[in-house]
Symmetry: C2
Subunit: 430 residues, 2 copies
């Protein structure tokens, strides 16, 4: 017996990861996919962009319906970007018209009427523009942003999924390395420098400050991009700390600049011939201490380790990353458009959070700065207010499963669906 | 009723941590102290040297009997050196006679007749010399070495406590960072370099190779100090890997040297004026790739993070670290002298281990090299034999307790006992 033909109301969804990945961005993906599977009468397949938005432009759509329930659930425990991400930024509608047009073309060809974009400021701007574009072209597209950034710089949301886990990693790492240095300092290394991410804002560096629960505990000094590097004041403080505690641990943000507005990492304090130094800011700071104060040093550069360290992710961060993915789909099926789930902190002494909603137009391209009141008077540590804000974000552990002594991270099939368009697409070179 | 006076048979013990600390050296301390407390008729107090052997020389003895049972148990979950360590090496009996004499003087003054020295090659040599010295002076001192080194270079023992946890850290880290790089490589970073410890031997770099369970998984290239750095061959391999997999992850040992026998970290491939480059080998390797192949890179320097990362310590390593501490005391009360507990691997397909005994004279100053058969033909990865040796050492997790989102590590009172000697001691400047 032939089935009755019903009018089509089920449309596919497109999900893409954008920009630098995090330890928990795949939890947002799991939130999207698992929730979409609960609405089979509204959402058909969830296609994921291979390498982010490039997947849509090149019509490389990964069919997530080919993945088992278990594989999708395992995404919650898997760092990196499971479908690939990219740093490609769409410019204004005028400048990047061809790209926007191509996106709509691909969406049409694959019956995609839901667009979920998982990223930071730039991506929210892109999602907003795509929404405007679709409206202009009268293509019914629901565009929902999903916040993600280790930089913690999206506005309106209390914090950004991805940040809490880096925060936990850097706080744990400086506590541990600090204990190492403390035990050797009487006859060996006296100064230890840890370089962390944060080119524009000191959120990650600030998070390291959580490790200092009592005066004298590492990190002793934090260098923020929000404060101009004052060499004399810094060296005086290092010397004071070493004399008081026997050693000094320093967390430096990669974005620290000197009075001329140059990144210390590039300014080079050593080379009289003006050669750019290899490496980042940690060796520059460490060498400066050695040259001026004579203390033996060691330094570490956490780099990608900090944002991929799923093994030590924050449970709170993980739950929030999942929740924004889930909420994005719920918003979409309820008919919202051009919005982004945000995290609202509940009032009161005990930390609590809930999901709320912000318009993409209000989020796009607005950068949330670290409040001035979060940095201590001397510029070298965080305040109690900063601690109250940051501390809840690193609470809880959510360990991955281990196999053979190593985390057993999800490996998806990532099956790309056959292309339907005859036209290939080539990006214009920037 | 007055107690009957019995002849004194209970003597104190001295325990010292030596050289670079590890994530689990305090577990050995816990093994020593908890076991000693089980023999109150033989061992009185366990004094720990403040900052290692310097604590004995300066008569700074920490009374571990002042620490609660809980505090000592918590040492199993605490990185760094709980009593302080140092890099002070005692030379030959002739050269350092005054120091050896001083040690015996301090031991006599505090009724110390057990000496437990927790360290690497140098320390086993020192423990052996102290034993000889005591014999010469007819002072009845039981000297027991306790193996510890992230370098894994002590002979006779199958492996060294401390190594397994670094091994696990570097394998987990390169797996995680590799997933990050893989997801961004199509439009961003293509080459990632992780610098790990190992100035003389490639054990730690080799351990990173455990993350490669299938061809193509990170790390793609390992640079060992056992292989002369061949720039052309290396660059060719990087290019090949990027072309095949889209990205390339590299683990480099800090000890890698060029054909002239110079550390790459110091050789500087960039600076025409011969200025020493700041920083280690990772930036040198990364910049070389950029200059010659044009690939965008990132690099991380794990430094102290790798050897203090108690949060991701190997359970096997932890258990072995505890076991050698425990065995050291058991050997002592059984009347053994000038020995060190070693770890014996049982024969057969399933990994098993037990504690055995080696003479300090056979351990002292013998460096265990990585077998040639552990490095693959092309020099860029580990062999199956190496994997079989290393894999059991990273098995199991043994998470610390968390408080406020951070590991709650033990903080001891470290009460120094009153000095009994009238003479102060000053080290001769080297």
């Amino acid at each position: 017996m032939a089935k009755a033909i019903t009018p089509k109301k089920v449309y596919n969804a497109f999900y893409a990861q954008s920009g630098g990945v995090t330890a928990v961005i795949n939890a947002s993906a799991a939130g999207v996919i698992e929730t979409a599977r609960k609405y089979p009468k509204k959402i058909g397949k969830v296609y994921a962009g291979k390498d982010g938005i490039l997947g849509a432009l090149y019509e490389n759509l990964i069919d997530t319906s080919k993945e088992s329930k278990e594989a999708i659930a395992a995404l919650k425990y898997t760092p990196g970007g499971a479908f690939g991400s990219c740093r490609h930024k769409l410019k204004s509608l005028e400048q990047s018209w061809a790209e926007y047009e191509r996106l709509i073309e691909v969406f049409k060809a694959h019956d995609i009427r839901y667009f979920f974009y998982n990223g930071g400021n730039d991506s929210m701007d892109t999602a907003n523009k795509i929404s405007q574009m679709a409206e202009q072209l009268e293509y019914p597209l629901t565009c929902i942003g999903i916040p993600k950034t280790v930089d913690n710089d999206l506005p309106l949301t209390d914090n950004c999924p991805g940040f809490g886990s880096v925060a936990k990693y850097v706080a744990v790492s400086i506590r541990e390395a600090g204990m190492d240095v403390a035990s050797m300092a009487s006859s060996s290394t006296k100064v230890f420098v840890l370089e962390v991410m944060g080119r524009h804002a000191g959120w990650i560096a600030a998070a390291a400050g959580l490790a200092t629960e009592k005066a004298g505990q590492p990190p002793h000094i934090i260098l923020f991009p929000e404060r101009v590097f004052d060499q004399a004041k810094f060296l005086a403080r290092v010397d004071e700390v070493v004399k008081q505690y026997g050693y000094c641990t320093i967390v430096v943000s990669e974005g620290v600049k000197n009075a001329e507005g140059k990144f210390l990492a590039e300014a080079g304090t050593k080379d009289a011939f003006g050669h750019a130094q290899l490496g980042g800011v940690a060796p520059v700071i460490a060498q400066l201490v050695k040259d001026k104060l004579g203390y033996k040093y060691h330094y570490a550069v956490a780099d990608y380790l900090q944002r991929s360290a799923r093994h030590i992710a924050s449970k709170t961060d993980l739950e929030q990353a999942y929740a924004v993915g889930k909420a994005a789909v719920e918003f979409a099926v309820k008919g919202h458009n051009a919005v982004m789930p945000i995290i609202l902190r509940q009032k009161g002494r005990t930390y609590g959070w809930q999901i709320s909603m912000a318009r993409l137009s209000e989020v796009a391209n607005v950068e949330r700065k670290m409040p001035d009141t979060y940095i201590s008077q001397d510029g070298f540590h965080i305040t109690a207010a900063c601690r109250r804000y940051l501390s809840p974000l690193i609470q809880g552990e959510a360990y991955p499963r281990y196999e053979n002594g190593l985390p057993a991270y999800a490996k998806l099939k990532n099956t790309v669906v056959p292309k339907r368009l005859k036209t290939a697409f080539t990006l214009k070179k920037a």
